[in-house]
Symmetry: C3
């Protein structure tokens, strides 16, 4: 009897030890997972700051087009995020991804769309931006599915593109060039895009907001343990491209162009995307320097010649900020990442470029077919003459009749 | 003897298993709680960005009143947060709330005060804003205590208002209208509020900062596990109101008004407040669309007529951004949340409106009684003529005598 | 035999209970540590927002120098962070600090450098800012090592300076004054620094971004459990200095100066640095009020007299925003922190001032020796005449030949 009691006691202890530990581990595990999600949420908010304030103000340099650029940013974000969610709830039934993962993927789609819109900025009406968003998101999602998730089985092996150099930046830029190619009119080409007098400071504000939160963009979906190294790599790449941009701008132009500083400084962030969680810090810095040089060379030397040659206008120069540095980043991964599949990486880049170019050309034709004008748009066409006239009931005398 | 040793060993094992598990769980639990607090701190910082940069720049549209609007924002935030803390340390002795919870509640009070100040922007001197803050915070705290915490036993049942559609937005807006009603002078009414030439971009900057961080405002105090769903709901509501605002603005005005885009886009965030942690994503999107339409209708149609009718000026149109969408959000909860107490919800809304209107009217009278002028204020009255004249010791020749 | 089995079972249970608990605790502990690192990463991003958007736009008030100020900010950050990392990888081999700790320390160095640059803003070319950064970082790191880490054994006892009132703010300001002292020319002194017409709003934007994220600056490296109290202290100190600045500005100048509001409001954050994790809330508020008064007194009364007396120009008034409030904060710690070593604290302050002044004077001489001009610089000298002239291939007729 005594032994029996002891046996039961022993068994109870064993069960308690096992289950107690397991429960404690599981409870802690659940809460840890939740805290991890909330941290990911923080990065999602940082990305949102990039989308609206960052991209929005980076594009506020076209003269008399500031309100349009900001409103377009608002609309493009607001149409692409629900659209991407809609696709997720159609196709993502068996998906193990959490809600914040879906939100971040939707924000990535919005970022790529904003890059695309930069190529045709100033030449679309508001409802045409909405149409562009509706055409863009499904093709973007198709490319993402093929390149990142192995959809259709087109790519065997893993494409290395954590921070989206290829599927976000290069895709958006080339798509935008496709749209620009199929819709730029002669009169748009003839009308040079001028800048506002205060525009450079607004653009630099947008640029800085992008710079600041770029680490959260690249580290958005990496495991918590990889966030620190990823963040430091991105920051080093951005430091590299910033310094390189200054020297390249002076060297290539004689003087610094504020447009170079606002744009090419970010090329390091674009190019480090593919390898942000895998590169060594020194490599990240070098990729940033290279990207800054390539991007500044694009803005300073290639842009004007290519524009003249093709008679097509890339308003924001997305080819030089997102296109070339994005491809550079995707290619750099083949040198930097050990054990990478060359075939998969190259296929990923090529499929992205083909889908983007094709999608852009077709989207441009569709937008034109639904009616557009040949000359660029100004704020005044769609916006009320004077913004923010409140209590404008009738013309009234000012400061008469003090009570 | 041998059995005795074994018994002791057995007992020791049991104790160890129990206590070890408990200690491990408790240690992990304490640290988890601390990490949860730090995450809440992050959302508190996001809200601070909304208060200063968001509300501050949203209000920078009144001509020659930019410095005043930003300085007023600084002062209103800086007076209301310590004041709310003071109340907490008087009444919150037995409170189980942590420090960050108190900070977030203080920020909510500051947000409501900034909304209130928007109604009378341009018509107060700096020390009158401070006075307004001192009058506002106690009445705000009283209403919060009655509606949210069941103070005085006036409301039986729970009022659903997680993100403050009722107690923050509607309260602040109606309080502000009360102040405006009791102090608008004829000459103020006669002096139309004009906009700066660059003001629209500043306002859109403020608007975008509010949009970006709004999810953290609504999710500030929800449990970590509810943060993702809450954030996605808020973002979908904002997407809905942004798209709806564009279409409503074009439809109602013929052209887009930048003021609509800067303001009504945010109405989804206001209206989703009450149900942000409870609504389904589709419902959140629908509430956003509805709020965007209501708000734009307010700015485009109601504002000018109501102004003319009442001869009272609501400078920022807080009735249309915070008042109506806030009430809409509070009422929507009755349709959306299952098991909600209709009586409590309606009582909460009505008590809020009555306390806000009464508090606002009285505060306006008090401010007037302590002396004010009839005409609107300009930056120049309180600010030095030229900002930022450094080393202005004496007029000196420029660029003479290079060394 | 039966007893033997039971003994083995008992032993197994004991081992399981011990190891299971230990493993669960360790796993949870590892993940908790990782989550703690990611939270620190968030604060590092907040600091980055302060460095670029905060300091950058705070300095956009010099007329025709906006692009230069923002580009200089970009370059100073991008040169100092990799440089500090380089030092870490040379000397930090045995260091137990994590990667994010190093990043935050590098950001602190960048912050101090930006403060330093504020003293000579408008009088350096871009490559001279880079040179300044290269000269500054090693001396900054030397001082940090001596004062914070007890390097060279110069200080016995701990210097209380969690948020860097002494080693970041005072060091940067005094270093900058040293540079200004050894390089200000007569013609620079004769050329008053004028402000842009929209500059005040840009400066207030920078100021507000600094205000908002300041709690993350001070709490960057404190333990998670101390983050809430530290954050609340910093916010209360900033509220105190903001209110005090308003009253002091009106009192001392008759009217409010926007420069006071943009700058002195932040003095509370500077001064609370040393004691941010140790002061009581009321003390923090009081330190903020005192710092606001001291700083405003500096801008309103001391600046013009000192400039006239010394014939040296402190462009941004860093002595009054960072120098005096930083020293105030370091000294305040001696009254506020119980058990503080007076000797260590005083030594820390004095060594910082001596190293900063000496380093600044020498750096100024080096910069001058490598060639500089006597007159201030304008954007136009280094920047292309018009920013953002895109597709400027050739002069083209506008809106001819619509297709």
């Amino acid at each position: 009897m005594k032994i029996c009691t002891k046996n039961i006691l022993l068994l109870a202890t064993l069960i308690f030890a096992v289950s107690g530990t397991a429960i404690a581990a599981e409870t802690a595990g659940t809460t840890l997972a939740i805290l991890g999600e909330v941290q990911k949420y923080n990065r999602a908010i940082h990305i949102m700051a990039m989308l609206l304030v960052g991209f929005g103000f980076l594009m506020v340099f076209v003269k008399k087009y500031g309100r349009s650029a900001l409103t377009a940013t608002y609309l493009l974000v607001s149409v692409s995020i629900p659209l991407y969610f809609l696709k997720e709830s159609f196709f993502g039934i068996g998906s193990s991804e959490g809600l914040i993962d879906k939100l971040i993927l939707a924000e990535f789609a919005a970022a790529s769309l904003l890059i695309c819109a930069g190529a045709v900025l100033g030449r679309l009406k508001m409802d045409q931006y909405l149409l562009l968003g509706i055409l863009f998101v499904p093709i973007y999602a198709l490319n993402e599915w093929i390149v990142v998730n192995g959809g259709l089985g087109l790519i065997s092996g893993k494409v290395v593109d954590t921070g989206g150099s290829i599927v976000i930046h290069a895709f958006g830029a080339i798509f935008g060039l496709g749209v620009a190619a199929s819709m730029t009119t002669q009169s748009e080409y003839d009308a040079p895009i001028e800048c506002d007098d205060t525009s450079d400071r607004y653009s630099l504000l947008g640029s800085m907001v992008l710079w600041v939160f770029w680490p959260s963009f690249c580290a958005a979906l990496v495991a918590p343990a990889d966030v620190p190294a990823t963040a430091v790599n991105v920051i080093l790449a951005l430091c590299g491209s910033t310094i390189a941009t200054y020297f390249a701008s002076v060297r290539l132009r004689g003087k610094i162009a504020a447009a170079d500083i606002a744009n090419a400084t970010l090329a390091g962030g674009v190019a480090i995307g593919s390898t942000c969680d895998l590169a060594a810090p020194g490599t990240a810095f070098a990729i940033g320097i290279l990207a800054g040089i390539v991007s500044t060379f694009g803005f300073a030397i290639i842009q004007s010649r290519l524009t003249e040659m093709t008679k097509k206008v890339d308003t924001c120069g997305v080819l030089y900020l997102h296109g070339l540095p994005g491809i550079l980043g995707g290619v750099a991964a083949m040198l930097v990442v050990s054990g990478i599949s060359f075939g998969a990486q190259l296929s990923g880049i090529l499929i992205t470029l083909v889908l983007a170019a094709g999608g852009g050309l077709i989207s441009g034709k569709v937008i034109c077919a639904l009616g557009r004008r040949s000359a660029p748009y100004l704020d005044d066409e769609e916006f009320e003459g004077e913004a923010f006239e409140m209590n404008e009931v009738q013309p009234r005398a000012v400061e008469t009749d003090p009570v």
